[in-house]
């Protein structure tokens, strides 16, 4: 009741049912990771949760209250969303971009986020001159800086180098530990295993599974999800076995 509840939600593309009757709840102080192949409706699901697309088939509730009952602005105060969007170049700087997201938010926590993502050094740069990885760090930082209880991240580690992938995952963990609901779409099962408390698997044919990370990230489940052989590794965990598929 006190988290972000998804109750019987469905995603369709044309005639095809991608997600059917999805039921799960992302609770405060936890990281929920959504996994699935391309085109199964992961980003669509996240945009529905952000209130950017109309919710189909079921209901989304925050602390027991349905998304439909919220005004646009009030939902935006509860939910922060990061996703890949292109926008025209009006000459915004990084500092202005962050200011538009979060207002003037200073303090140790904000400094920590910007430092971990190495955004502080980019502040005066125009967005249009950033590389895609730098741009991604700014967008993830902008989403995390917003003082919302719910954080929705659509592939936050995309375009990032290894060190910044690690920083991003560490920040997700820290945000959850601070009490936020963190819900992220990831493509890397190793990253998912490192950060997730709960995992939602989307198969793209209406089926879905949700459960604790340890159960959902079993090699045989992931092998079925992606159609990829998975290899268990020493000390627990698994890797996609590219050596067998090349």
């Amino acid at each position: 009741m006190n988290g972000l509840a998804i109750d019987g939600l469905a995603v369709q593309r044309g005639e095809k049912l991608l997600i059917g009757d999805l039921r799960c709840e992302a609770t405060p102080a936890s990281v929920t990771v959504i996994l699935g192949p391309n085109g199964v409706g992961k980003s669509t699901l996240l945009q529905m949760l952000a209130g950017l697309l109309p919710v189909a088939g079921g209901q989304v509730r925050w602390q027991g209250r349905s998304l439909d009952a919220y005004a646009r602005r009030d939902w935006a105060e509860a939910v922060s969303w990061q996703g890949a969007v292109e926008y025209a170049d009006f000459g915004l700087t990084v500092a202005e971009r962050l200011h538009l997201a979060a207002g003037i938010r200073t303090g140790l926590e904000a400094d920590g986020i910007l430092q971990a993502l190495d955004v502080a050094a980019l502040m005066a740069r125009p967005l249009a001159q950033l590389s895609s990885g730098e741009r991604q760090r700014v967008e993830v930082g902008a989403a995390m800086l917003r003082p919302t209880p719910v954080l929705l991240l659509d592939e936050p580690t995309a375009h990032l180098d290894l060190r910044h992938q690690a920083a991003c995952l560490r920040l997700m963990r820290r945000q959850a530990d601070a009490g936020r609901v963190v819900l992220a779409v990831l493509h890397d099962v190793v990253q998912a295993a490192a950060v997730a408390d709960r995992v939602v698997l989307l198969y793209g044919d209406g089926r879905s599974e949700a459960g604790p990370a340890s159960a959902m990230l079993a090699p045989e489940r992931l092998a079925a999800l992606y159609g990829m052989p998975m290899r268990a590794i020493e000390g627990g965990g698994m890797l996609p076995d590219f050596r067998r598929t090349v």
């Binding site: 945009q47 209130g51 105060e77 926008y87 025209a88 000459g91 915004l92």
Partner: protein, 317 residues
Amino acid sequence: MYMRLARPAFALTGLLVLTLVLLAVAASSGADWINPWHPGDATSAAIYWQLRLPRVLTAFAVGGLLAVAGAWFQVMLQNPLAEPYILGVAGSAASGAVAAAAVFPASAWAMPAGAFAGASLGIAVVGLFASLGPARLLLAGVVLAAFWAAVLALLLTLLPARALGRAFGWMLGDIASSPLSPTLLLAALAVSVLAGLWLSVSLDRLLLGEIQARALGVPVRRLHLGLLLGASAMTAVAVTAAGTIGFVGLVVPHLVRMLIGPMHRWLIPGAALAGGALLVVADTAARTVVAPAELPVGVLTALLGVPVFLFLLVHRR
């Protein structure tokens, strides 16, 4: 491309001072230099207070309205190189003016009233396509502009030769024969600047694209409708006052953005000042360079604006 000044407030103050100086110089300039405090004789005083100053203020208000409307259109269409006239509103206004002049050749109010009606019609037609989203709305605007140009050409071939001169003069932009008082135009400019400041946070967030703006809580659809109506009404007023004057709304917000950044609490007043100042300079040049004859000011702004526009187009990534 980024010669951003560190302090927008400083840049804006500089722009204000520069604008006031330009206004004063422009009002005194002409066949004879007239000092308003020592006009010499009653005729000079009358020329200053009843002809030159109202004309300068009209040019300032029209230029400011066009530039602020341009800034709104640019953020609404997610295109830093858009302007009101790109949606065909100028063409529809000109068609309305010419049609009215043909039907009521004797009435002095026929052309401005026709222009306002034509601009409103053009806005209504654009409104039908507002749900298309920025990119396709822009395309619809280009096609509509071509349509109104054809309507205009048709009307001009039907117009009696006697009325042609007036219609042409109006189409090329004519500050001198504005049917609207400078006070009214300045009031319209003040309202548009205040509205822009009131909406500035939402406008800023719209710079991040519609989706991100909605994620930040901006009611984008309602804002779009308001911007379309507001900017089009501003265009209609400007067109009614001074005929079609292109490129001010296109180039000015773009240049001001380069100077003081894209945040609207600075951009909107900056565009109003710079747009006003630019049209004052252009109109003063139009009436002094080949005096006692006059150049059409819309032709001057196009001659200046097109190279600047192409330069900006080439030098943007």
